[in-house]
Amino acid sequence: MDITLQPNGAFHSALVHLEPGDQFKSDSGAMFRASSNVDNDVTTISRGGGLLAGLKRMAGGDTFFLSTYQTTGGEGGEVGVAPTLQGHVAQVDVESSQSWLCAGGSFLGCDGHMDLTPRFQGMKGMFSGENLFFMEVSGAGPLLVGAYGSIREVPVDGELVVDTGHVVAFESSLSYTLSKTGGSWLTSYLAGEGFVLRFKGQGRLLVQSHNPREFGAMLGRRLPPRRG
């Protein structure tokens, strides 16, 4: 498998070249182009639920459907993937000794032979549609992440606080706790800060320059209400 990043301006994408036997897993909505000999198998990832549980979460704005792509007919092929929002794509070369956690909305795809384990966090949907879901990616291989805006690597050594909406992916050697920004629930709410992740330890962390949830909220409140 060979991945070509297409860092064109503000709208990055990635083209994944597959050889026979290669597999590539991605968020089901991420594929936008593919060779015709690429086969797509869709599965759901859920917390013990089946298809319906997946659908319910999809209504919440997140898709946790995984597509597994592989070529057929003994020939190579390609799959192009891109994030929904305007932004960058980055490749992380995951080593077998160190798994990564990837924010649900940032996960674009990874080598199909890598293991994916969903990690749902508590306090889901508390204030503003906060939906904390991480995909743990383990095994050696390439991981693709997409961002809203640009991606920046911040090395953590000690302690670092990041708004949940800006987290893209991080090494699982980092321990983290979900908390509010500070003060009481009320001040946290009024300050407009949702939840933050407090990282501790040493490891690599990727953050994005913009927060998709803030962008969604900014547009959402200007639109007429939808039916409940």
Binding site: N8, V38, V42, A59, G61, A82, L85, P212, L223, P225
Partner: protein, 224 residues
């Protein structure tokens, strides 16, 4: 007439320097700024019926504007409705098919007509596409990056991401075989076959709208 596509690929803009007699046909609303003695003629281009057809069926503007330079040294800047890439396609009498909304401008004798897409249906949430013919330059745009794919055999593009393609390509709308796969947006696929080029955009306005939708306030059923 000289032209340059500026600020590619994310914020592309078409900048034209026009001398007396130069003409360009644009999508209505595309003009961003202009200088010099330019005459604007708004027309339905091909008559009311053609205009109506474009508007109702292909989702294009009812009107197209024709800018004619009445003197030398005119400047005209044309901007697409969204951030993204812009492509110049030279037309020498051949045909090009455009996704609805992709047309920005054309020079020479290039004209656009809406085309009933028949039973292939559902294409880009609409049944009609634009067929461009003539000689000159055709400019089309899309939200996101535009990538050109040389198809020789078959190629698959997610519904909503195809911007333009050459008529030598056949295409059909296909669904994945599995029932449960039908639930997902990317399971409505356009399958192009033959030999020719197809231009793909890397972002979808529909996906963006789907992203924003859950953030809308919810109207309670018994709103008091």
């Amino acid at each position: 007439m000289q032209h340059a596509i500026e600020h590619q690929p994310s914020y592309s803009l078409l900048n034209l320097s026009m001398d007396r007699g130069d003409r360009i046909l644009t999508d209505s609303g595309a003009m961003a700024w202009m200088a010099g003695p330019l005459e604007v003629k708004t027309s339905t281009r091909g008559g009311v019926f053609q205009g109506l057809k474009r508007k109702l069926l292909a989702g294009e503007s009812f009107f197209q504007n024709e800018y004619t330079a009445a003197g030398d040294g005119c400047e005209l800047a044309l901007a697409p409705g969204s951030a993204g890439d812009l492509v110049e396609y030279p037309m020498t009498g051949q045909e090009l098919l455009l996704e609805r909304g992709a047309y920005l401008a054309s020079t020479g004798s290039v004209v656009c007509d809406s085309k009933w897409d028949g039973l292939k249906g559902l294409f880009n949430q609409g049944l009609f596409i634009l067929r461009c013919t003539g000689e000159g330059s055709l400019f089309f745009h899309a939200y996101g990056d535009i990538q050109c794919v040389d198809v020789d055999g078959e190629y698959v593009i997610d519904n909503g991401y195809a911007v333009a393609w050459e008529p030598s390509l056949q295409y059909s709308l296909t669904r994945a075989r599995k029932i449960r796969s039908f639930l997902f947006g990317d399971q409505l696929l356009l399958r192009f076959s033959g030999r020719g080029r197809v231009w793909v955009q890397s972002r979808s306005p529909q996906s963006l709208a789907n992203f924003v939708h859950p953030f809308r306030r919810v109207q309670r059923k018994n709103n008091s």
